[in-house]
Symmetry: none
Subunit: 209 residues, 4 copies
Amino acid sequence: MSIELEARARGKREETKASNRQAIIDAARIVFAELGYGATTVRDIIRATELASGTFYNYFKSKEEVFQALQDETALRVRPRLRAERIRARNFEEFVSGSFRTFFDFVKNDHTTFATMRRNPDMQRVRIDTPEVIAGFDELRADLELAIANGVVPATDADLLMASMVGVAFEVANHLVLRSDLSAEDAAKFATALFMGGVQALPKKAASR
Amino acid sequence: MSIELEARARGKREETKASNRQAIIDAARIVFAELGYGATTVRDIIRATELASGTFYNYFKSKEEVFQALQDETALRVRPRLRAERIRARNFEEFVSGSFRTFFDFVKNDHTTFATMRRNPDMQRVRIDTPEVIAGFDELRADLELAIANGVVPATDADLLMASMVGVAFEVANHLVLRSDLSAEDAAKFATALFMGGVQALPKKAASR
Amino acid sequence: MSIELEARARGKREETKASNRQAIIDAARIVFAELGYGATTVRDIIRATELASGTFYNYFKSKEEVFQALQDETALRVRPRLRAERIRARNFEEFVSGSFRTFFDFVKNDHTTFATMRRNPDMQRVRIDTPEVIAGFDELRADLELAIANGVVPATDADLLMASMVGVAFEVANHLVLRSDLSAEDAAKFATALFMGGVQALPKKAASR
Amino acid sequence: MSIELEARARGKREETKASNRQAIIDAARIVFAELGYGATTVRDIIRATELASGTFYNYFKSKEEVFQALQDETALRVRPRLRAERIRARNFEEFVSGSFRTFFDFVKNDHTTFATMRRNPDMQRVRIDTPEVIAGFDELRADLELAIANGVVPATDADLLMASMVGVAFEVANHLVLRSDLSAEDAAKFATALFMGGVQALPKKAASR
DNA sequence: CATGAATGAGAGTTCATTCAT
DNA sequence: GATGAATGAACTCTCATTCAT
């Protein structure tokens, strides 16, 4: 084999490898979203690809490992956007509204991904906090602590404030997925108003459902 | 075994029979809390009772069914308390603070139950929304709609408001379980302030952790 | 269920249990003899019974465990006979001839068992020395040491003497299994003569094969 | 890579190619000795070389085939020595002592090879009788028959005599490997005395162990 | 109704072997 | 001829569920 051919071969190989890995992650995303983490088997995942069962183990050691990779990939996609939004914010209202807006946009546009964290309505919700996800939470808390230091937010418990934002974000996102009458923008407006002025500040709107 | 003994045994058996269901539920609560829902097997549950494996199926059809029963039982324990609290409320602040207070008290006092929903700190969260739990959510939404009708709350999206309360409640509860420096009362105060006046109203407090 | 019935039930159960265990051991004996230890799978063994795959694991944890049970069972069957023969011996010749005779009789009469230790001629021999087997060797060595102490055998290396007897016993047994012209008695006479007087004492005989 | 380098590489490759087979056999010897035949996988073997898994199959069809090659190689190394020793012998005592001496020397000096046949001391013994090994046995038998024809050995069963020598040789070799107080020479003396004069002729020696 | 061994589908995983590069 | 990822048959083992006792 000439050097050229060898090089090309290596190129092709690398390509296949990369695309196989992605194929598994993509299949996993779909299957997890459909069946939920617990019910999903490795076999389900590979069955959703064109690959053979053994091939799975060339890329991941276990179901848990794909799941982590998947979560990390997701978190890696949202985290920087959220971070950027918060940095761009010139006041706390922008901080809050930017965060919610970005998150809800992501959820609306990436149904499947979010479904992974939010399985069969009425059945079981699994959310696995991988290092990446936790890092995202920590990042938010740190930014809130900074806001407190800067006096834009009262000297309150940053940890609980973070938890509250996360709780509202995820729980409202669930409804966003289920309700077609609800836009990411409206959801963000609602959550922002709540955090900026409490219940009294909430936008007037005919609640449906 | 003499006839007498047998009779006594039979008497005891009736008793046992009555409590077998409860024994299974109780064992399930502990085992689920320890191992998480996914990792728990029916075997694990019956091993934690004095019963035989076959007996399980006289009471429940599957692991899912015990879990449901367990969740329902839990919801049935909290729901009336929450409801009562909201009915007793003379204004919306009491409505909100009473709800959070009651929920957080429950969480603090009934670790095991809540742990079921929150296993492997920082790893995996499972929450199963059984009919009972959903009914609790619906109840809360209905009450919020009533509050809106009565004018104590602006005419906002009751569904999202409910979601927000639920999100904050569960997420803050997680931190309540993990943080020893946090009392149910403080958590309730925090959540109440957030909902009554937004971030600006949050109680000042040296956040530790 | 009356007490009688219950007792009878328990009887039947125990019976089944015992017979299942034996069925597995028996199947294992045959399969190991056929395929050799290495090539045998747990599946092969249960396939050779009427039982379901899972049932295997109610009785043994692994292939190794059945094998041990099998070896121990075998050793337990021969060891006492060998021991008795050695104790009965009034002189060293009886000691030696009794041992070989008993062992070769056993091998001739229990082909299958011995084949376990001696697979496909021309392929692979596996012999696993379980505690029971080793204990049998140790017993022989101890008896030889006693013979040395009593002056019936020169003060030689008892360990090597034991090894030599074992080596001759197993290797000649192989030929015993393969050669139809060779009786246990003749084999025993040969081995005894070798140990009593060396090559010069060996019985004259037209070697066939 | 320059053309020169390539050429050199090609030269080296030829070399490598010539020695690849040997590299695999050598790796196999070590790995088999370490893990035992059954537990060893082809992967284990190639992992112990610098080669890729596919390359294995350019040289051997299967694990069994390397094992055969390995055994044959070993037998091929000892057989001529044994044969030479027997031919050189001027009487039967030299025949016997020369054989044992040579075999035990080999065992002491080539631990690894012998370990292949004797893994997990006191646990599992695997011995594979490849054609080469069997040929060695046949050769010994033929030589014994010759000795019988020449009248140096009584007209006894040459097959059993061969079996006895083999049995003693292998079994004593096991002890040789395990006992540090035992030299190849002493072992050979012991075995020779046994075959020349039976138990009564065995060398006096303080048996240790 | 309780019991607990039997069941067998199916999960996860390994590994000899193939084959495109 | 070397490479090493892909393959998929086959293995070990688990476990929800059944059913004779």
